[in-house]
């Protein structure tokens, strides 16, 4: 069982607390001139995404969580599981709905994604920050109404729905920021 002491906990250090994996965001050392030294950690629960604060006595140790980030290729979805491949070892792993969360709606196949593994099981799958996808369904735009900045919903080839400017038409490719779910621009042909 590997452990780390408070002075080794840096941003990105993975900790196992109450059975859950956490990632350290920030570690603030405080020491009154004449008092007990403490380290206040800001940590993110990698299963729930919740951020919390926890203060430890300086010098305390915590077990390290066996968490790693890996770039993997998305292969296919069988309706229940999404299958990814390690491009170096060709090893395949499957991620369930919880790990996919919002990422599933942006993937169509073959793109490289970052997968956070905990004890070699996928914990979080991150879609690429931006994706280029074709519009499969949207209402015809209203001519001449490009200046007002109005938007309309559009369905993309992966099934995701995004708000797009009125001038976008079916069959066009657009670029979307997956972190915000917002339309960025028309994608190059």
């Amino acid at each position: 069982m590997a452990t780390v002491s408070t002075n080794e906990m840096k941003a990105g250090t993975k900790l196992l607390i109450d059975g859950d994996p956490y990632s350290v965001i920030d570690n603030e050392y405080r020491k009154p001139g004449k008092g007990q030294a403490t380290n206040t950690l800001k940590i993110r629960n990698l299963k729930t995404g919740r951020v919390l604060e926890k203060t430890l006595k300086s010098g305390d140790t915590i077990e390290v969580a066996d968490v790693e980030d890996k770039d993997m290729q998305y292969l296919y979805n069988d309706g229940e599981f999404w299958t990814f491949m390690d491009p170096k070892s060709f090893e395949q792993i499957q991620a369930g709905k919880a790990a996919m969360a919002d990422s599933a709606q942006w993937l169509k196949g073959e793109e490289t994604v970052r997968v956070t593994l905990w004890n070699e099981v996928p914990l979080i799958v991150y879609a690429p920050n931006t994706v280029e996808l074709a519009v499969t369904e949207t209402d015809p735009g209203l001519r001449g109404d490009t200046a007002t900045g109005g938007t309309k919903p559009a369905k993309l080839e992966t099934g995701a729905i995004v708000k797009v400017p009125l001038f976008i038409t079916e069959g066009e490719k657009i670029k979307v920021d997956t972190r915000t779910g917002e339309y960025l621009n028309r994608a190059g042909k």
Binding site: E28, Y29, R30, K31, P32, G33, A37, E53
Partner: protein, 332 residues
């Protein structure tokens, strides 16, 4: 690959040799030191130098010293040597020096830092707070960052009442823990059954960060259990005649109406040693020279230690100690 002349290796080139502070900051530091000397010279306070290496060390349970290969100790404060000078009849004295503490580096912590320390015979802690305020105002003016001289004085008790809604002299551990939880702080079982540790944690997390947000603020009259080297006044409950200075939530100075009772001093040293022994911590020898000097007689006085790097950092509006040190511990 053949190394360039002078034995300069690629791995040498990859190290970051540059200072952590910029040049204007180093100039401000020099101006601060010059202003300091002017301030004390004008008041007839004598500048002294005392040894950095000593055959004794602090036994304070929360301060760990560096030990040298020959079995001596680097000072964590010049306090003991300066009190011996006072006992020898020096009159008012001050010193600026490096002190060393075995602790983590952090935004506001560096294992060696610059301490300003001075002693005033005939002053109590309230009188010395007045002079600390005058010094901070003078130094701010010297750096072209004038401060008003209205500095709040808040008792330790009042600060806890105001910011945590409890009385630090009577609250039990469950009450302190509940108040911390109510202000959004999770400290687990950090303090165990040690009430003073819970008070420290509450100070670090919930009270201290709210002190001196506008102008610097003094905190005074601490619980007797946190007296360190301060006199205890027999109020009900008894209080330690100790003060701290906070500015923008950062602790800047710690002062005492100094304990002069040799027997009481020895008792406190021995209690700290006993605690260290019990916890399996290093137990340095306490300073017998200090106890002997106190037995010969310490003039009634107050003394204070001020972290000069932190003061410079706050005066210049910087966020970290590294920005005001020529080389922080990562580059030392």
């Amino acid at each position: 690959m053949k190394p360039p002349s002078g034995g300069f290796m690629l791995s040498d080139a990859m190290t970051d040799w540059t200072p952590s502070a910029d040049l204007p900051t180093l100039r401000a530091r020099a101006a601060l030191l010059a202003a300091l000397r002017g301030f004390f010279a004008a008041r007839g306070v004598l500048e002294v130098e005392t040894p950095l290496l000593s055959s004794h060390a602090t036994v304070d349970r929360h301060i760990d010293s560096f030990r040298t290969a020959d079995g001596r100790w680097l000072q964590t404060s010049p306090e003991f040597a300066m009190k011996r000078l006072l006992c020898a009849g020096s009159g008012p004295i001050w010193q600026v020096c490096r002190v060393f503490r075995r602790e983590e580096s952090g935004r506001h912590h560096n294992p060696e830092f610059t301490m300003l320390e001075w002693y005033r015979p005939g002053f109590d802690h309230q009188a010395l707070m007045g002079e600390v305020a005058e010094l901070v105002v003078a130094l701010a003016a010297a750096l072209g960052r004038p401060l008003g001289d209205g500095m709040e004085r808040l008792s330790y008790r009042e600060a806890f009442r105001r910011h945590l809604g409890l009385d630090p002299f009577s609250a039990g551990i469950p009450q302190i823990r509940a108040a911390l939880a109510a202000t959004g702080h999770d400290a687990g079982d950090l303090g165990g059954d040690d009430r003073d540790i819970w008070l420290d944690v509450a100070m670090s997390l919930a009270v201290g960060p709210r002190l001196g947000l506008e102008a610097p603020c003094f905190l005074y009259d601490f619980p007797a259990s946190q007296a360190a080297l301060a006199r205890i006044r027999r109020d009900d409950p008894p209080v330690a005649e100790r003060f701290e200075l906070f500015w923008r939530g950062t602790e800047l100075a710690n002062g005492f109406h100094e304990l002069g009772d040799a027997a009481e001093q020895r008792r406190r040293f021995e209690a700290e040693q006993a605690w260290r022994r019990e916890q399996g911590r290093e137990v340095p020898p306490y300073d017998r020279n200090l106890v002997a000097a106190l037995a010969a007689g310490l003039p009634d006085c107050a003394g204070v230690a001020l972290g000069l790097d932190r003061l410079l950092m706050l005066l210049l509006g910087k966020d970290s100690l590294a920005e005001v040190l020529a080389f922080d511990s990562g580059r030392a």
